[in-house]
Each structure stands twice: as C-alpha cells, then as structure tokens.
C-alpha cells in the first residue's frame, strides 16, 4: 500500500524534498552556485509549481550557469537549445534525416519500406526533452535572440508540452518537464511569454557575494584577492561602460592577477591583467583615468 502511494505523491508534489527556498540555496551551494533569496524563491516555485523559469539579466551574470546547477540538483542532464535569429521549428523540434531516407529509398528497390521510422527521425532539443522529461532539463538559451515567430511557437509548446508530428502522431510529455529560459534583454520579450513563466531578474551580486563566488570558482585564490577583485569590478560596473564585466570576467581577472603577482605588486598585477576584464578599446580608454584610484581603493 505504502509503495503504491509513493510515486503518486511524487507526481502530485514534484520535488517534495525541497520544502522551502532555503533548501534550494543549500543544494545549489553544494554545487558551488551561490543563489540569493530571490533567485532561490523563483527556482523553488518553478520546480514545485511545474512552471517554466525565465531568467533575465545582463550578460555574464550566471544565467546559464544557474540552469546547469538546477540540472545538477535535480539529477537531470541539460539539453540546450541555443537561440539565434532565424531559428525555426526544424532546429528546435525534430527533422527527418532526408539523406538517409533517400538512401533507404534507393536500396529498397521494389520492397516497401517505412520512411518515417524512428531511425530516420532526428530529435532536436524540444522533442528530446519531451520524450524523457524526468531525465532531462530543457535550457532555452538567449530567447531574446530569436525572432517573434519563434517566440510564439515556444509559447505554444510551453502551454501544453506536446508536439504533433504529422507522420507519427502527437507526442506528449508524461510529466511536466523543467524548462529554463534565459534572456539578455537585448529586446523586449512578448508579454504572454513572461506571463506564462516564473520570472527572475538576476542582477550583479553585491561585492561580498561576488567575492564568495570568485573564491569558490577560481581555484587557487586567496580570500583577500577575491575581495579586492569584487570591489574593483563593482567600481568598474558603476562607470557606465558599454560592456560591463560579468562574473566570469571577474573570476578570470582574479586568476590572471594572481598569476602576474610574482612579478609585481597587487595593484600593478590587476592593472596589467585589465585585458581580461575589459575587452573594448573605448571602454579601456574611458576607464584609464579612474583605473589607478579604483585599483588602489580595491587593494587596500
């Protein structure tokens, strides 16, 4: 009796082991991902309510990384659909392997063959996830790069999680898959898409949290270096650059400066490694007059 009830309970309340957002924070932390209360709440709600999660934020703030971490804590593999302008259903859903069909047709001669068998079907990310929703997590990366048509198509997919293939029939997900979408907000997403999702805006972390992230991610780094990097990066972001440095850049900067430190002092090491963190000539020019003060303050 007990055994029969267990899977049912799991179906009604998925991820029941996550009782509150704090559990999500804890589990993510085990995977070296530091989430703040807002992100943890959003992830928690998305998982427990079975809704897609839409993460928006500036580039390099760890949106894709969040998806990977969620996949890790839910024991799923990430199926990534990278959006680009002009992406269409055949790249997102499925495609027939036409070359193979042609060959089969040639070889068959007079015999009749089934051209729409499973061996001719190329599964694209959406179908892949639909067929094994309990083992895979769908990451739709940079939705803002796709065009409006594709967004409308996604909306349809996200509302009923089914795909109809004319030659085979309708494919349905047996359970609601975890879907995570990211957007850099290079354009406004459609209201309907936002409405369907649990939403979170990931901002740059505060200096303290960023230092912690750098410390966890960068490997051989002293705490003081991580803190100095976090402070300096924070200052750089406040300078209204056209490409403000992301967290990845901050981590790389800390690593680069640590490598260079044996030859020179701290502020000097940071200054020489500036190419890691600012990759735009005009930004570099704009920051040059302030760089000395920023680094001196950060390294104190």
């Amino acid at each position: 009796m007990k055994d029969a009830a267990a899977p049912l309970a799991a179906a009604i309340a998925p991820f029941a082991d996550l009782a509150q957002p704090a559990d999500v924070v804890q589990r993510l932390l085990e995977r070296d991902y530091l989430a703040d209360a807002g992100l943890a709440t959003a992830i928690f709600l998305a998982l427990r309510l079975g809704k897609p999660l839409l993460l928006e934020g500036p580039p390099g703030v760890g949106k894709t990384e969040a998806a990977a971490a969620i996949a890790a804590i839910t024991n799923r593999s990430v199926v990534r659909l990278q959006c680009y302008e002009g992406i269409d259903a055949s790249q997102a859903l499925y495609e027939w392997n036409y070359a193979r069909q042609l060959l089969a047709l040639r070889q068959a001669g007079d015999k009749s063959i089934d051209l729409y068998g499973a061996e001719f079907l190329i599964e694209r990310p959406l179908l892949k996830v639909l067929r094994a929703p309990d083992d895979r997590l769908l990451l739709i990366d940079e939705v803002d790069r796709s065009d409006h048509e594709f967004e409308a198509f996604l909306l349809e997919f996200l509302s009923d999680f089914q795909i109809s293939i004319p030659e085979i029939g309708t494919q349905r997900a047996t359970s609601t898959p975890i879907v995570i979408m990211t957007s850099n907000r290079t354009r406004e997403l459609h209201e309907a898409l936002r409405r369907r999702c649990i939403y979170h805006w990931i901002a740059y972390p505060d200096a303290e949290r960023e230092a912690e992230i750098i410390l966890r991610r960068a490997g051989d780094i002293v705490r003081s270096t991580a803190e100095a990097t976090a402070r300096a990066v924070r200052q750089l972001r406040s300078q209204s650059l056209s490409k403000p440095p992301g967290i990845v850049e901050a981590i790389e900067w800390a690593q680069a400066a640590t490598l260079l430190r044996s030859h020179s002092g701290w502020p000097e090491a940071f200054r020489r490694a500036i190419g890691v963190v600012i990759k735009d000539e005009e930004d570099l020019e704009a920051i040059q007059p302030h760089l000395e003060t920023i680094l001196r303050d950060a390294c104190q």
């Binding site: 959003a42 427990r48 047709l105 290079t186 409405r195 939403y199 979170h200 056209s242």
Partner: protein, 376 residues
C-alpha cells in the same frame, strides 16, 4: 474565498489599474506560490510577487511602490494616488477629453502641457494623410539583408532536401526535378532618433506623427527622443491610434523643448549595449538640426560608435531646406565624413521621399556637400 487570500487576490486589480498586464493565470500562480512558501515571513510573499507577476525591468520601482502600498499600507504612495485621483476628477469636471485627463494623472503638469501642445497643432497640416499614403509601400521598399532562414526556389545552388523528398514520394521515388533553396531576406531595422529640443520646436509634432506612421508600416523599428536626456518611445508611438500614440508619448517624455544635449543623449544610447544592439546593421535616422551647445566631442564619439555598427547613418536636418545652408557648424563639419547622408528633413514630404529610397545606394554625404561647395 478564504479570508487570508483576499488581500493577495486584491493585488491583481491594483496592478491592472496601473496598467500592468496581469493574467488570471498569474494570480492563480501567485496564490499557489504563497501557499507553497507558507506564511513564514513577509519577504516570501514579496519575492513570490516578483517571480509570478514578472514586472518589466524598467517598471520594477513602480511595482515595488504598489506592492508596499497594497500590503504594507505605505501612506506615501497612497496619498500620491489620491492626489492623482483628485486631479483626474478636476480634469473631467472641467470637460477635458479622457486622454488629457489620463496624462495629467500620470505625470506632472508639464507632460500634460506637452500633450496639449502636440494636440493643438493636430490639424495644422494636411501633409499627414498624404505622407501616410505614400509610405504605405515602405514595407516592400525597405533595404533588405540576408536572414538565416531558407526558402524553396526553382533554381539555386543547394538542394531543399525536405521539399525534394516530398516531391520524390509523390512521384513514387523518381526525382523529376529537385527543389532548391536559398536564404530569405529580411527588412533592415530602423533606428529613429528624434531631437525634441527647443530649437526643433516647430518640427517636433510632425516628426512624432512620422514616427507613428513609420512604426505602423514597418515591423522592426525603434524610436527614441533626445532632448536633455534619452527616452525610448517605441512602444508608446507604435499604438494603432495616432491620438493615443501621441498621448502616450507625451506621458513618457518629460524634456520637451529644453536645451539640446545631443552628445550626452547619444552617448546614453551607445553606452547601453541593449540600445546599441538596435543600431546593429540598421538604418539609423537622426532628425535634428545639429545645433549642439557646448562640447561636440561626446557627440562625435557617439556618432563614430554608431557608424561602426549601423548599416546606414543618415542625418536629416530641417535647416537644409534653406538653399544657403552649408554644414559649417563645428559639430556638423566634424560629423560630415562619417555620415552616409546629410539631407533635408524640413517636411514630412522630404523625409518620406528619403525613407522610400533608402534601399538605393547614394553618394556619401561628404561627397555631396563638397560638390555643392564647389558649385557655389
């Protein structure tokens, strides 16, 4: 409805009253979320509201204020709201139309004055209808670029496998004639920057009408105004009714007829990677007289940046209608080498003419103007 749920459900009408698009599904999600999180702390409800109602990024402050007003009873915001209501009432009682009343409510009186200014000259020209008619063919006359989507064609280099396969099956395995494919084309984006400073006062109304017409005719357009600061009005100006569009613009923009600060305005555009993206591969149209006060270095700097990402960079100035005009101000002289076009922007007619011929290559601005100098 259970008693504790009442304020939660009551938040939806509050949001709707302030023009947040909220669906019933979102309200249900919000209730489910709060139930799931449990009445542990207030912060949980706060975070759930953000996660479920997904307020647009640039309206988060407004959302925050509404949330505090609704759940915490923040007196500051409520009193402001009431003040707004009173104002609205006074407006309607004095017999103004609804659009103006709304504008009053939304912002300071300044915005409303601007709206009045815009409406006052509504019937001043018949050029409006004429321009609308002429621009109807714009969508198919826009400059094109290659898209990464494919379309089937009769002749081409690569074979359209799915179509050819389908054709084969129809013909019992024969290939009478394969179907080919090539890349589709797509109209380029337009980035329209409108100078609304005091010196452009006479054109502002016309330019906004034009922006409205353009955004109804083409699919990909972004519109900004530049006065003393940069304002994005794409959504406002794209409303289907011209009246409503202009009212919405009047509400968004707060720096009508001020000083010209083109440089800082453009720098704000190029400094924001999201906005700069709108210019990538696009037709950039700047409607301004180029009378920049003060230092022209930031203007030049921003324009060079635009030059590098835009497909065509055109400056339309109302001053050019004057046959005596020569680009002799400091700013324009320096800008001339990096501009593709420096043309007449004095009337709707002239601008429409220019926009309709964007796809046709034209000599560069510097060549045109050095020629004019000689001929003089």
């Amino acid at each position: 409805m259970p008693q504790p749920a009442v304020p939660l459900v009551g938040f939806t009408p509050v949001l709707r009253a302030h023009k947040f698009a909220v669906s019933n599904e979102q309200t249900v999600t919000f209730l489910a979320a709060v139930e799931l999180l449990g009445p542990v702390c207030f912060e949980a409800i706060h975070l759930a509201a953000y996660a479920c109602f997904a307020p647009p990024y640039d309206r988060r402050e407004e959302f925050e204020a509404l949330f505090c007003a609704h759940f915490l009873g923040d007196p500051l915001v409520i009193s402001e709201q009431e003040a707004g209501k009173e104002r609205g009432l006074r407006e309607t009682s004095s017999g103004r139309d609804l659009a103006t009343a709304e504008t009053r409510q939304g912002d300071s009186g300044r915005a409303a004055d601007a709206a009045e200014l815009l409406f006052a000259r509504r019937f001043a020209t018949g050029a409006n209808r004429e321009t609308r008619r002429r621009l109807r063919s714009l969508a198919c006359r826009m400059p094109q670029r290659l898209s990464s989507r494919m379309k089937p064609v009769r002749r081409g280099r690569s074979i359209h496998l799915s179509r050819s396969m389908a054709r084969m099956l129809r013909n019992d395995g024969d290939v009478p004639k394969p179907v080919f494919r090539e890349r589709r084309t797509r109209a380029r984006n337009i980035l329209l920057l409108i100078d609304i400073s005091g010196s452009m006062k006479d054109q502002t109304r016309e330019y906004l009408s034009l922006a409205h017409i353009l955004s109804r005719e083409v699919d990909h357009i972004e519109v900004f105004t530049i006065g003393t600061r940069l304002t994005r009005i794409t959504q406002a100006v794209g409303r289907s009714n011209e009246f409503a569009a202009l009212a919405a613009v009047a509400q968004r923009v707060s720096d009508w007829d001020g000083g010209t600060r083109l440089g800082p305005g453009l720098s704000a555009l190029t400094g924001n990677s999201r906005y700069l993206n709108y210019a990538r591969g696009a037709v950039v149209l700047i409607l301004s007289d180029g009378l920049e006060r003060g230092d022209s270095a930031p203007l030049l700097h921003a324009m060079q940046r635009l030059r590098r990402v835009a497909w065509r960079l055109s400056w339309l100035s109302p001053l050019i209608a004057d046959p005596q005009f020569r680009p002799q101000t400091d700013a324009l002289r320096q800008l001339l080498p990096i501009l593709d076009d420096l043309v007449d922007g004095s009337s709707m007619h002239a601008i429409a003419n220019f926009v309709l011929h964007l796809a046709i290559p034209a000599p560069r601005a510097s060549a045109v103007w050095s020629h004019r100098k000689k001929s003089r």
